[in-house]
Amino acid sequence: DVKVTQSSRYLVKRTGEKVFLECVQDMDHENMFWYRQDPGLGLRLIYFSYDVKMKEKGDIPEGYSVSREKKERFSLILESASTNQTSMYLCASSLRQGAGAGTEAFFGQGTRLTVV
């Protein structure tokens, strides 16, 4: 069974802390994504990666960075957490989408981060 695992379901951090959100997939997928989800705003893409050590900015990368040292692991880093980063964070993976291909994304269970 395909699986995307996020390291924490719930996380509480203090303002200014450096926060790591980890995501691991066991499907040998090339693509991995980080989204945040907020009420009324839906899912917004933060960063994605289509290969090891490669990363691309999504729609809202400010305040975040990512790391992909191994194919199966994609980490989201909040360099200095702020209260406006309180949100649900969702990791996803997919096969590389060639032209006209379009493959489904598999999601982790989400990490609800609260910054106080």
Binding site: F33, L43, L45, G58, G100, G102, A105, F107
Partner: protein
Amino acid sequence: SQQGEEDPQALSIQEGENATMNCSYKTSINNLQWYRQNSGRGLVHLILIRSNEREKHSGRLRVTLDTSKKSSSLLITASRAADTASYFCANLNQAGTALIFGKGTTLSVSS
């Protein structure tokens, strides 16, 4: 923003009724996907419809696509309480590199 929109934002129905959700998108597409999210959980893929298809079925799900109007609809027939969830449409961004999602429709099915 390339983000699409679902309509309505919220829908409440009785068990056994049909539920219809609509999605409008902004970019040209190769395919459009629908996902479901149970409360506080990750998203699960439901169905994918390609741009050269007009209608697709999967169990109690029926998806239509109108590329001229840049819109799609998801119909759930004979709804059950277990269908209570949020439903999202998604399509590739213009660069073709990542899925972008609409804001979702929250469906509540009461028994």
